[in-house]
Symmetry: C2
Subunit: 369 residues, 2 copies
């Protein structure tokens, strides 16, 4: 027997005012996306597990909540991410739409298990995806949009961590010597900031990448000093240009960081803000597999609304006024048209404070309590 | 192998402009609720099946999509309705909140199977619940709110069908003779409009209820002419009063209709509108079972956003303008501040029509294409 009111582990009710804050944040973020031409799509909560899973990595796929559909007997799953669904829409139902295609989304996602940092199994994901290009102009637009949308919510002290997940592979392919090490070994040594290990295996050429992590201007200066192939240099220049656009954002660069960016190509990024422990969002360039097995370039980001709510953002402060018994309906309508939330008393002894009202209607005028 | 882009039966992607319309309708409806003091709550998509199911009827409970939680090994289910979740919140986490408590919600619901009229298995449900009272003033507020919120979306030709699901039982309990019939038999004969059957069993007293169905004024007049117990007469008077409030709404009354209102008490209602085949909403008075097994009165309604979208409501028509390559960022910001959706060209040969733009920026002025 489940006690009334008990919810499964990792699931929760959002109550006022947090539920209203979450809804207000979704409205604000999607309005920012719409103002830049991003059009809303709403994929379903549930899809074939095979279809959802094929657009996720191995670890993420194991986090899908799955069940057998009593109608089709197929295995279905609850989405743990919306980006992959938007990609599917872009290359199937919207395959004929002109590129670049700008889409936005907002909705709940669920996963089997929360993490230690974030025990919730259900969260609100909001995002924007630019499909058909991952060129520098696309990266510049997407990163500026993420920053602008977060700023509009009131989030302060924004910081942006940029990574180049394919950098090491690109350098190896262009002839930087791996010595006796495999590409995976070099990446692993870089993850561990293991200069000695790199040198010992004859992959010392990659060692300067370790020092080229930190505040973006200095990190980029260190990278530009290296012997880089032209296409890598061009990407770094486009990163330098998009950073120059961002006023008042602390930007760091970790050129070899790959963890959590397994699906990103030439650029990945995380966003952080004041009062929020974890990421408030992440994104990057990626490739969508099309039905004829080609790849379409895309770039986008997801924002995590729950962190913004927990930081106290999105709180609306409606002016609530109690209407005494017998208030004419048109008086209430007038007040609502002026932005009041009107609460009708059902009893003569109802008190404004009982209903979190700051005011009561006194004759025809609001009176502060 | 599932073909890319195929969704399980009864599930669909909402694309622009319908997805944007659905989001705009949710915003409009919840803003109407908020203006009357209804505060937003957001229960989770998934709960213990036992908990969700116990607040649903038998048939509805069988429509829950269920699965075993890999974490707890309990059976969980996807919600098929949000009203019951809001009731649970009201009598558990918000048990100490002052009454009446006004709550609103919006979200996706899922069910095992669609119906012939509505094959979708996922739909958007939005609603408002007034908890702690089902008095005439509460019914009047709730019905007026449903009508006002739907009108704000642009829905025309609203009609309201009222029913009194407990009427026959109340009359039997107050002494109207059932003859040789059981209460259930009388209700079944009334469902079949079977005057002869009622007379044959000695329950002819109930026969005038059959004729008291139709346009509300005439139906109420017929009912008032009967020998009614005082509490039933008082309820009918409160229904007459709330109808009198509603300007321009076609109201019908079917006093014995119970189907789909198994959980309603003294009043239930359905809402219909121009261009929509099925109901756009339904609601009524009901009782919430509290953790100590008492009953708290409540009244509320749910609205079905998908029908409104299908009727063409909620369509926003953003003014989209193409910004040629090299447009300064501050020019774009100025246009967005004036309500434009700006779409940045990535190429010199991008055409406004490719991006559904009505205008292109020509120097510093928008120019119609």
């Amino acid at each position: 027997m489940i006690p009334p009111g008990l919810l499964p582990e990792g699931l929760r009710d959002r109550l006022p005012p947090q539920a209203e804050a979450a809804a207000a944040l979704v409205r604000s973020l999607t309005a920012s996306f719409a103002s830049h031409g991003y059009e809303h799509v709403q994929p379903p909560m549930v899809e074939y597990e095979e279809s959802l899973g094929s657009r996720l990595g191995g670890a993420a796929r194991r986090e899908l909540l799955r069940f057998t559909d009593p109608v089709s007997q197929h295995t279905l799953a609850l989405r743990s991410d919306i980006t992959g669904q938007v990609g599917r829409i872009a290359v199937t139902r919207l395959a004929a739409a002109h590129r670049p295609l700008r889409l936005s989304y907002a909705g709940l996602v669920l996963r089997v298990r929360g993490s230690q940092l974030s025990p919730e199994r259900e969260s609100v994901q909001v995002g924007a995806e630019l499909i058909g290009s991952d060129a520098p102009a696309a990266a510049r637009e997407i990163i500026a949009l993420a920053v602008e949308a977060l700023r509009q919510t009131g989030l302060a002290d924004l910081s942006l961590d940029i990574t180049i997940p394919t950098l090491v592979a690109d350098l190896a392919q262009s002839g930087w010597p791996l010595g006796k090490a495999s590409l995976a070994e070099v990446q692993s040594l870089l993850d561990g900031k293991d200069s000695g290990g790199l040198a010992a295996l004859g992959a010392g050429a990659f060692e300067p990448l370790i020092a080229a992590a930190g505040p973006a201007a200095a990190a980029l200066a260190r990278l530009f000093a290296l012997a880089l192939p032209a296409h890598v240099r061009a990407r770094l220049e486009s990163i330098a240009a998009l950073i120059a656009d961002l006023q008042g954002v602390t930007v760091t660069l970790d050129p070899t960081e790959r963890h959590g960016f397994e699906y990103q190509t030439w650029i990945g990024f995380s966003l952080f803000g004041a009062g929020i422990l974890g990421e408030v969002g992440r994104g990057g360039a990626y490739a969508i597999t099309t039905p004829d097995d080609t790849a379409e370039p895309a770039i986008g980001f997801s924002l995590y609304v729950d962190g913004l709510v927990d930081a106290g953002l999105g709180v609306t402060d409606p002016r609530r006024i109690l209407l005494p018994l017998g208030t004419p309906p048109e008086t209430g309508a007038d007040l609502r048209a002026k932005g009041w939330s009107t609460i009708a008393a059902f009893n003569d002894n109802d008190k404004p404070a009982d209903f979190r009202c700051s005011h009561i209607l006194d004759g025809v005028e609001p009176r502060l309590i």
